[in-house]
């Protein structure tokens, strides 16, 4: 549904995007992850037809972004980094205007506005001026305008930026509720966003593609190990040594009152670990997964420059 091949964008001598390729399948939510100034916004602007690319190819909803720009624009909902709102308009008149310019027929306009208001949870502020509503509501209006023409593809640039934690959770739930027929690409520099909302991720840094794939695939290819962290009443080196004796366990490192235990992917040593802890009377308090998580992965990729 979104296919990008060797995309390049140069501003004079500066290259913002240096040959990025990735593919997002229909009905999936993918995250475009990278530190600030990685080229996320530029990539999204190219996909939505706001900026032309210097080189490369991009296909959105089956249409070439450069050849069939109008078709792409009809099929795509876009929330830019700066939410494009007219402060002097009311929420519903703004959504009505967006419906008009996005090509919603006048017969369906009212229904489309109603649906977008509902999706964004905006019924209570529909008659208020946009300049008078809170930041969280503004962001929701931004998402509602992206949805107004019922697009197949949604491109959301940092949808949760600047919101408070409760609002972030709300927006994430909203985005998750849109999963289904729609293909969604959202950009973020917050890792938790990807693990909590996305099916897959494209990691870029300084305009270059660092990795892309579903979360499981990426964890597998970069980690290669599974593990757990156990919190013990009697932790320390002695406990770690006991765990190292278990079959399958590769490493067991004490970290304060906890022990980090890793084993090869494909097995599961947790039963043995729990049994041992109880038998030896180590005082098992807590046991949690220490899989190679997206945060380790992200830091590893961005700092180490491991290219797939």
């Amino acid at each position: 549904m979104i296919e990008v091949a060797e995309l390049v964008k140069r501003y004079g001598d500066f290259s913002a995007v240096k040959g990025i390729s990735f593919k997002v399948e229909r009905g999936k939510i993918w995250g475009l992850l990278g530190p600030n100034a990685a080229g996320k916004t530029t990539t999204m602007r190219i996909l939505t037809g706001y900026l032309p690319a210097t080189d490369g190819k991009a296909v959105v909803a089956g249409f070439d972004v450069f050849e069939q720009a109008t078709e792409v624009k009809k099929a795509t909902g876009y929330l830019p980094e700066v939410v494009p709102l007219y402060p002097e308009m009311t929420v519903s008149s703004y959504l009505g205007f967006v419906a008009e310019i996005k090509g919603v027929s006048s017969a369906k306009k009212k229904e489309a506005v109603g649906r977008a208001l509902h999706a964004g949870g905006l019924e209570s502020v529909r008659h208020r001026l946009i300049k008078n509503i809170s930041r969280g509501y503004k962001q929701r209006v931004g998402i509602a305008q992206a949805l107004i023409h019922d697009p197949q593809v949604l491109i959301l640039d940092e949808p949760t930026i600047g919101l408070d934690p409760a609002q972030i959770i709300e927006i994430r739930e909203l985005i998750k509720s849109l999963r289904g027929e729609r293909t969604i690409l959202l950009s973020t520099h917050i890792l938790a966003e990807v693990t909590q909302t996305c099916d897959g991720v494209v990691i870029i840094n300084e305009g270059k593609l660092m990795a892309s794939g579903s979360l499981d695939e990426l964890t597998a290819s970069y980690g290669g190990k599974d593990g757990t962290i156990v919190k013990l009443r009697k932790g320390g080196e002695k406990a770690a040594a006991l765990f190292r004796g278990l079959p399958g366990v590769e490493t067991a490192v004490p970290e304060g009152g906890e022990v980090r235990i890793e084993w090869g992917r494909g097995q599961d040593c947790r039963d043995d670990i729990a049994r041992l802890a109880v038998e030896e009377g180590l005082g098992l308090l807590e046991m949690r997964p220490a899989a190679m998580n997206i945060e380790d992965l992200y830091l590893k990729i961005v700092s180490g420059g491991v290219v797939q």
Binding site: Y11, R45, T48, G49, Y50, L51, P52, T70, K73, K74, T76, Y78, P80, V82, V83, P84, L85, Y86, P87, E88, M89, S93, F97, V98, E100, I101, K102, G103, Q145
Partner: protein, 255 residues
Amino acid sequence: MKNIWFIAKKELQAYFSSPIAYVVIAVFLLLVGFFFYSLIMWFNSQAMQLAQNPAYYQQININQMVFSPLLHNMSIILLLMLPLLTMRLFAEEKKIGTEELLFTSPVSINQIILGKYLASLIVLAVMLLLTGLLMIFTFAYGNPELAPLLDGYLGLFLMGAAFLAIGIFYSSLTENQIVAAILTFGTLLLFWVLNWAGSAAAGIWKDALNYVSFFQHFDDMTRGILDTSDLVYYLSFSFFGLFLTHSVIQSRRWR
């Protein structure tokens, strides 16, 4: 066509939901009303004096003595006020980031420009129509000729349309509304001054400067002369302004 109207409707809403349109229209009417009053009073005193002498009395002409100078005054007021109508059209979209919405919608650049231009033309038309109320009095109490007056109004509208096109062009260049207004104002003033330079110059320069100046063409129209070359001048000026706007927007996106 529909898209042009959608954009124009939104711009009209913006004009009339903020004080801008009301202030511009009100101040315009106030000034026009003042000039109208002074000219009518002057006309009255002239008519009184000349009425003594039947030979001069024949020459009293309200079209020439009131309407023509009034239309000239109105053109200068428009020069001062129309930049305020166009300054926000693109500059504001850029500043608050809404141009990203416009340019990622299935609406062409031409439709966006024409929609905004149409909205400003409608405000201009409202301004001119409201001054028509003053003219009704002259028809009620005197017997002016209608055709030259309509010709003058047509000239005023076309000249205003050219002013607006230039204003839109400058608005597309910057995200600062004040800068857009000052550049527009300066350009219009320059074209006004070219008229004076024209009267001082000689030969081909005189013709060239007179042709380029807004007001030479307008002068004919206030006297009831409808020349296609004047129409062509104003229309091509407007077209040129809009064309430049299109080039600016297009090139900025490709840079």
